[in-house]
Symmetry: D2
Subunit: 146 residues, 4 copies
């Protein structure tokens, strides 16, 4: 997964706020923190909307976070492909997150012409230890006519 990025952090952020305001508008509580060659980091701010009993981020919020983080990594790697779509997503919830923000780190496992596969590790932002809260692997289909 070597190679330079095709979109910078600022370019990816601007693209997503414009094209997918539902998922990436600033008030949705998600912030892209870094992109690199085949990598991306996205922070999920803990907000009331996503809390479960106990004050932790909900499972569906983590699934959406993982899906979005892989999309960010694909965008950074291949450029603005608005029509890439998730075809498969598998997630394991490993431990209850601590209250507070979550950090999702994506690493692309494959960036092919037709399919891209990435894995995402989710951690509590505040936790001292490095244990994962969730781990996700997802496949995106890349449109053929780029």
């Amino acid at each position: 997964m070597a190679g330079a990025v095709k979109m910078s952090l600022a370019e990816v952020t601007e693209f997503l706020e414009r094209e997918f305001p539902q998922g990436f508008a600033r008030d949705r509580g998600r912030r892209i923190e870094a992109v690199g060659p085949g990598t991306a980091r996205v922070r999920q701010l803990a907000t009331d909307e996503h809390l479960r009993p106990g004050g932790t981020v909900s499972g569906p919020t983590m699934m959406a976070l993982c899906d979005a983080t892989i999309y960010v990594a694909i965008l950074a790697a291949v450029g603005p492909v608005a029509l890439a779509v998730t075809t498969n997503l598998s997630i394991n919830f490993l431990k209850k997150p601590a209250p507070g923000d979550l950090i999702a780190d994506c690493r692309m496992l494959k960036l092919g012409k037709r399919l891209a596969v990435g894995e995402v590790a989710v951690r509590s932002a505040e936790a001292a230890e490095d244990d994962l809260v969730a781990h996700c692997v997802a496949t995106y289909s890349i449109p053929p006519d780029r």
Copy 2:
């Protein structure tokens, strides 16, 4: 997966609106339509919040819908277990949904003492044909001290 349900449609609905207002409050656009022995049907109302470019329900909304529908089926089968948690969820997105509501049908594949596994088929409510929009399999961990 034979056997009677332990909670009726009305009981499950009331329980979820009270315990998980974030996921099942009436204004979230989700409605439990039926429960049976090892089965559940939940409707996702198409609302602006969940739209993507093109006017269709988003992938994360479908993931949350599937997760919730399995939880409904577990509740109906084993009674009010607020602490059952998703440990694994795998979803395939099969075709772009038509604009409009979605219907999720869950069938439990296993209802064990420690683990419950269910599958969910998601269809467009309005579609004439029967093609699936998405298909999901998820595992819930059941707390040991019921």
Copy 3:
């Protein structure tokens, strides 16, 4: 998933014995029992090679059985595509199989131009009850130049 099959049971069997003797030679203990529009049934004969302590078919044997059963269903639906390859396979092991043969039933969830997705239900052949032993969903990539 309507439509006629493009290869009959006899044609699929002959094709696989010729092209994939490693997986489908008669002495491998697998037998194709039926194909239909978007469906296939394959029997795994219980042989010593696949036993685990306790005399039941092993997990890896069930994974291979599910993978093969979906391939059979794809072949029957689209014709002899030797180069279709599995891209993703997810399986849940639901209960210990009873000693004896296993029956795998595949139903295609999607048969697209580029991707095909199928689910497989595995049961003990001899069991009186209908409980699943395993449940699998897998995606095959179809070569573009058919």
Copy 4:
């Protein structure tokens, strides 16, 4: 996943050859190369039995390899638990392996009282580059009465 191992490489190897000769007998072409705290490395020797057209290791062989590698990592971490069973396995096949041996590296993502989750990266042993051939995540259920 810190902590010392409870079984050494020699102890795990001896245990598996004795308890699971079907999967780990020397002539099966699998060799445990290393174990560590929450990690394991297993080599799949390329033998005729596992070849596909083209001379590469088959998909089912890779699935069995991943399953076995996670089991090795669990054994090393928790000691001889013959009854730990796979409950879920999800694998992505990323590229056709080069002819020759495969190396599977497992890292445990969770080692809980009831569930253990591990991920496995599979590479071609001879390949100059570091690209993954396959990536797998699987869950094992640990018997409660250890």
